[in-house]
């Protein structure tokens, strides 16, 4: 169960990160340059997709009855974390996405 929970929270964070970086203002905040339109759309799409994956993982962890409640909580809290990280350590906020492949490896081979 803990792997599913971790994954749910992780993908919620990455989803929020994608949506956030798909916004002109926040992309600039991290990379100090404007965001090409295609990338913006791609980031947002990936963000929504990650949120969907997060929902599936939360449902795996808790079942469909209460999973969506946990999903909302995970999105809220990871959004909060992102908002607090962005102004202080913007690169770290983005870099946290690197945990996803690690999680995937552990999930596949662990």
């Amino acid at each position: 169960m803990m792997m599913w929970v971790t994954g749910g929270v992780l993908f919620a964070y990455v989803g929020m990160l994608g949506l956030c970086q798909g916004l002109e203002r926040h992309y600039k905040q991290v990379w100090q340059r404007p965001c090409p339109r295609a990338l913006r759309v791609g980031l947002r799409g990936a963000g929504w997709l990650a949120l969907l994956v997060s929902l599936l993982l939360c449902a795996q962890a808790w079942g469909w009855a209460i999973g969506p409640v946990a999903w909302l909580g995970a999105m809220s809290l990871s959004g909060m974390l992102l908002v607090m990280l962005l102004p202080y350590w913007p690169r770290l906020a983005v870099g946290l996405a690197a945990v996803v492949p690690v999680w995937g490896m552990v999930q596949l081979f662990g």
């Binding site: 949506l19 962890a61 209460i66 409640v69 946990a70 809220s76 909060m80 607090m84």
Partner: protein, 506 residues
């Protein structure tokens, strides 16, 4: 009131938020702590051993103890050791809370356990403010309505919900406070709305009894019966004839197979031919809060007399909402999720309260404003300190009191509660005599030190107690950082909290 719709919403949000925010903060903090009420109970009573005894063995020992000490009692209550509550408690009579004797689950011997209000105090304070029960429920219900109103008006007056969805600009004074207040409110909006609304739903029949009054002519028992909660007829005749009590272990196994993990059992009319054994599940076996449900067995033959009732759709809906509020379902990951969401809610309310003062500091905080305006501003400032850091101080003081007060003290529980309120009043007085920023720093530092120091009180024998101490440690370090940040902020010409100097200096 102001002219336009948005302006009047802003007026309502500001003033309702300020006046009721102080108590709402207390409700949210104690509610957040109550997520871990059993763990705090366990920490506050270090005499209770953490053991790994099966429920069947524990139940047998409890019955043997009651057989030896209370064979004539009309009712035996047994709380079985569970994952979150490793104690074994037996009681007689119908009292639901408190009382009773704590047993060692390994031996079945009574153990001396200090009286303590435990984490249950936070739970009770959360929905009654420690007022008489029904008064408290109404006051807290009214406050929950204000909270809902504050949420809705907040949405109305926040013009850029999506544009500033991820925005937080630190070190910009008032701007930063508003950003934080907005972000924590918007991002956790589902949680805020859910927790406030489901909180109201718990006592909906107390708040709005008209429906039941009309349908059942005010007969609440008829209403409960109609839901399938009918109590079995008590066998008065048989209860006078002696009888031999059946072994409870197979019944527990049968109930566990049907209900999931068990919480405890009641044996009515023990040692008579009319004995009844009621076995209740733990609260978190399903989403709908199962409080009051039990499987009933014949105490002599062991035959199943009644299963847990099936709820009809409407009561089930209510129970599920209550379950969403109580967060018993989903294990520790869910509990932590609720706990952290609750913390963010508390900080959201606190930041709104601070924002009120930050916004008006320049205008009313110095000599140029009218004396009466300055006085009211000072009242808001003092209340902010006293109701935010003061309440935190009171909560941690209660934890200390549970360990530090002499064990043999008469009416120990009420002394704990007195400590809680006494410290709170002292904190308000302290805030009244100190300059606001000094008061913030001093009180927050004290809370931090007390939180960090919880471990020094010892009595950490098992994982659960270590968890309490570690969580308090983390909390203390965070609060210490806040205190340090508030103290470090260069003294602005007026009262300031962290980060408002950039703007003041600009």
């Amino acid at each position: 009131m102001k002219n336009t719709f948005t302006q009047s919403m802003a007026w309502l949000h500001t003033w309702a938020g300020l006046i009721f925010g102080w108590l709402l903060f207390a409700i949210f903090v104690t509610g957040t702590l109550a997520v871990f009420d059993k763990e705090l109970d366990h920490w506050m009573q270090p005499e209770v051993p953490a053991t790994e005894v099966s429920q069947a063995d524990a139940a047998r020992r409890a019955v043997a103890y009651l057989q030896a000490h209370e064979p004539q009692a009309g009712n035996w209550g047994i709380s079985l050791p569970t994952e979150r509550s490793p104690g074994l408690r037996v009681s007689t009579g119908d009292r639901r809370h408190g009382g009773g004797v704590q047993l060692d689950p390994r031996t079945g011997e009574a153990i001396e356990v200090r009286d303590s209000v435990g984490g249950n105090f936070f739970f009770r304070f959360h929905f009654t403010l420690d007022l008489p029960r029904n008064w408290g429920i109404f006051v807290v219900g009214a406050l929950a309505l204000v909270m809902l109103a504050a949420l809705v008006t907040g949405i109305v007056i926040h013009k850029k919900i999506f544009k500033e969805f991820f925005t937080f600009r630190p070190n910009k004074g008032q701007r930063s406070w508003l950003d934080f207040h907005n972000a924590s409110a918007v991002l956790l909006l589902p949680f805020h709305l859910m927790i406030t609304y489901t909180g109201l739903v718990i006592f909906m029949l107390i708040y709005i009894p008209a429906g039941v009054d009309a349908l059942f002519e005010g007969d609440s028992r008829a209403y409960f019966n109609a839901q399938g909660n009918a109590r079995l007829e008590q066998p008065r005749q048989l209860a006078r004839q002696p009888g031999q009590l059946v072994d409870v272990a197979p019944l527990l196994a049968q109930a566990e197979a049907r209900l999931g993990p068990l919480g405890g059992l009641n044996i009515r009319n023990p040692n008579t031919a009319g004995a009844r054994i009621e076995i209740r599940p733990e609260l978190g076996n399903r989403i709908a809060l199962a409080k009051g449900q039990a499987m009933v067995f014949d105490g002599v033959s062991g035959e199943l007399l009644s299963d847990v009732p099936q709820w009809r759709a409407a009561p089930l809906t209510q129970r599920v909402m209550v379950g969403l509020h109580f967060a018993q379902f989903g294990g520790y990951p869910m509990r932590w999720l609720y706990f952290i969401c609750g913390l963010v809610s508390c900080v959201m309310i606190a930041s709104g309260l601070v924002l009120f003062c930050v916004k008006r500091g320049r205008k009313y905080g110095n000599g140029t404003a009218q004396a009466s305006a300055r006085r009211w501003y000072r009242v808001a400032e003092v209340c902010n300190v006293g109701f935010i850091s003061g309440l935190l101080l009171a909560c941690v003081a209660l934890l200390w009191a549970s360990r530090v007060l002499p064990v043999e003290l008469a009416q120990r529980e009420s002394w704990e509660v007195r400590t809680f309120f006494g410290v709170w009043v002292l904190a308000l007085l302290h805030a009244g005599v100190r300059p606001a920023r000094r008061a913030w720093v001093e009180q927050l530092l004290l809370v931090a030190v007390l939180c960090i120091g919880l471990g020094a009180l010892g009595g950490v024998g098992d994982a659960m107690r270590v968890g309490v101490v570690l969580s308090a440690l983390v909390m203390g370090v965070l609060l210490g950082l806040v205190a340090w940040r508030v103290g470090k902020a260069v003294p602005a010409p007026i009262r300031a909290k962290a980060g408002r100097n950039v703007e003041a200096g600009a």
